[in-house]
Symmetry: C2
């Protein structure tokens, strides 16, 4: 059975590769696994058929005939653990790459999403501007630690691209136009290096094509 994932029929990110199907597409491209995409509307995401696959009514999901998964982190890990190419073979390095995948989701992403959520939900509140320094300082504390750990290396673990880098870059890309990466040239270069990978480019083009076919662009 081919791999089938779900993605937004009408992504709120307007094809910028910020939706959570992007890391899944990227991981599948990195390991060379073909996949099909089932597009779901916002209404379909809240219907029982989709909720049976994704209890929170979100995307993406992943089905390959053996497993049916939700949560992009779980899906990326599953792809990485069941194919060669996204995790080192040596157990110590492999464990560290998986730890970075979790760090991206549990340590780096929460303050990044906090700032983003405030922009969506609280932009018109009187306190929005006053909260920005706090929101940004929490992100920068994480970026400081990440930059120190990456140093001058190309990738986080033993100089080889891994699922940890894939997930970390996915989070860092959310900072997009915030300017917060401008103070971290090695991290900006790290993101650019990841985005230049052919697998990233193919995944980006595929999600972009959905947006363009829907009449956007």
């Amino acid at each position: 059975m081919p791999v089938t994932i779900t993605a937004f029929a009408a992504s709120p990110d307007r094809g910028r590769g910020m939706a959570r199907d992007m890391p899944v597409r990227w991981a599948l491209e990195e390991v060379g696994r073909p996949y099909e995409v089932r597009l779901v509307s916002f209404a379909e995401m809240k219907e029982p058929a989709h909720l049976g696959l994704q209890p929170f009514g979100q995307i993406p999901t992943y089905e390959d005939g053996t497993v049916a998964l939700f949560e992009s982190g779980a899906i990326v890990l599953h792809i990485a653990q069941s194919h060669a190419g996204l995790l080192p073979e040596e157990p110590g390095a492999r464990g560290r790459a998986i730890a970075w995948l979790f760090a991206a989701l549990s340590t780096m992403e929460p303050p990044v999403l906090d700032r983003e959520t405030a922009g969506f939900l609280e932009a018109s509140e009187p306190w929005h501007a006053a909260r920005q320094p706090l929101l940004e300082s929490r992100i920068c504390a994480r970026l400081d630690a990440l930059a120190a750990s990456l140093g001058e290396a190309e990738w986080l673990v033993d100089g080889a691209f891994s699922a940890g880098d894939l997930q970390m870059v996915t989070v860092l890309r959310r900072l997009g136009s915030s300017g917060l990466l401008d103070g971290y040239p090695t991290l900006a270069a790290y993101v650019a290096r990841a985005e230049a990978r052919p697998a990233f480019q193919r995944a980006f083009a595929a999600q972009r094509a959905v947006f363009e076919a829907s009449g956007g662009g």
Copy 2:
């Protein structure tokens, strides 16, 4: 080599089992793996020796002679994948239990931590009270979905306790005295059921003993 984890020498949670060594202790108890604990001060957490293990200067870490890990989610997953007892054998159920572990960290925890962080960092700000309804509604949207998915079942996947339940209950326990679980009797019972497990009790007592030995209590 025995398993060695790190934990706070002086936990800010005052022995309530809210620090992130708790899910790691709990997982080790569930699989019956003995472990040693190295207590670290806040100063030691920011020193190079610890930063080499934990790039963000946090606890816990995990070392077993083969791997050296950080991120409690990664450690719980490693324990679950390398011992029997915390993941179903059947691939579909196993994948789903891992997806729930990620859902606990990536979907449930962020709004729970948002509310907690606001309580720490913004309690004296003029907007703190006005933001509460928003913070709580985001948590309740997740609790609604979780309660619907759990239904009347004892545990999230096929009626058997898994690493997904361990991580989800760890997050739900953070709601503690907020009262937010009062509206969800099946989720409150789910947390109580998990806390009644002998492995939870042993882990809780072990972290509590650190607090009491430090002169707390």
